[in-house]
Amino acid sequence: MVKTYVVTSGKGGVGKTTISATLGAALAAKGDKVCLIDADIGLKNLDLILGLENRVVHTILDVVNGKVTALESLVRHKQMKNLFLLAASQIATKEMLSPDDMRRIVAELYPKFDFIIIDSPAGIERGFRNAVAAAEGALVVTTPELPAITDADRVIGLLENAGMAEDDIRLIINRFKPNMVKRGDMLTKDDIQENLAIELLGIVPDSEDVIVATNTGNPITLNGNQEHAIAQVFSNIALRLKGEMISLEKDLVYGGPRGFREFFRRIFGRN
């Protein structure tokens, strides 16, 4: 079973880091020992989303420079004791790390973890190649918009050309808005999947709660949030990664914003 995944997209701002953190927390909530690696050197955010920014002592650059081992550099999550972070450096650049460095780091961590999730930077240059180098599989994140989908298509092509098996490249659609799809104003999951032609691993509906979770540094899948609809979606994705057959329709149970504001917007909304 594939256990080292790179979370990538090509386009920036589609939610790679949030998905890396939330999915990592979802896997950890199921009892797996998970290591998250922030490969977005110079523009690191994974520690912020996990609420660990004040606990980082060593970064991936310290490992590359031989100051500490990869295992010594890990930060354990304050609530989930089986969730770890290898933080990126804010002051370094992507050129200070090579694909071989990443392979060496992952090789050290590999026997100690059930899953290793590498958060890739946007783009398809050096940072992307570093992040992909040691991954056995890829989770390609896109939003249902043309620029994100076409960039995802480019990234899938690069991953395949780099030798990654097609079955190990899987798609996550983020910020999906079922209400817009119903109105005929958003591409459907089938439209996207048909064009990208890879397995769809999950559909994450758009949710303000994810922003709130980021504000507080507590991924929505952390303890206490398990019953939340979005947490359920990530739980489904985690189970699918572990090989379970969970229907994709279960991700769409959460239909987006409801209530008075949405009700009045639909009646009085002028297009």
Binding site: R129, I156, G157, M186, D191, N195
Partner: protein
Amino acid sequence: MMFFGLFRRKKRAHSRKEAKDRLDSIVTGRRRSVPVQEVIPAELLKSSETDVVTQIKGYVAQRFKVKEENVKVQFEEHNGYVVIITNVVFH
């Protein structure tokens, strides 16, 4: 009349169809799988780099009737691939 106009929803075409058509035209055929035999190992290039440069310079110089020193051949790595870039200086 103005009051009722507030509640009237203007009909417009749904954008999903247009997005789908545009996506189809952009993505279709863009990502093709590269058969393994098309990918040449990088080591093969390294071992014959000088020879490749000499041959390209010779061909381009002859083809465009320019001096060989005006033909520049560079090897650059882009997205994991080595690209051979040839610059010809025309007067």
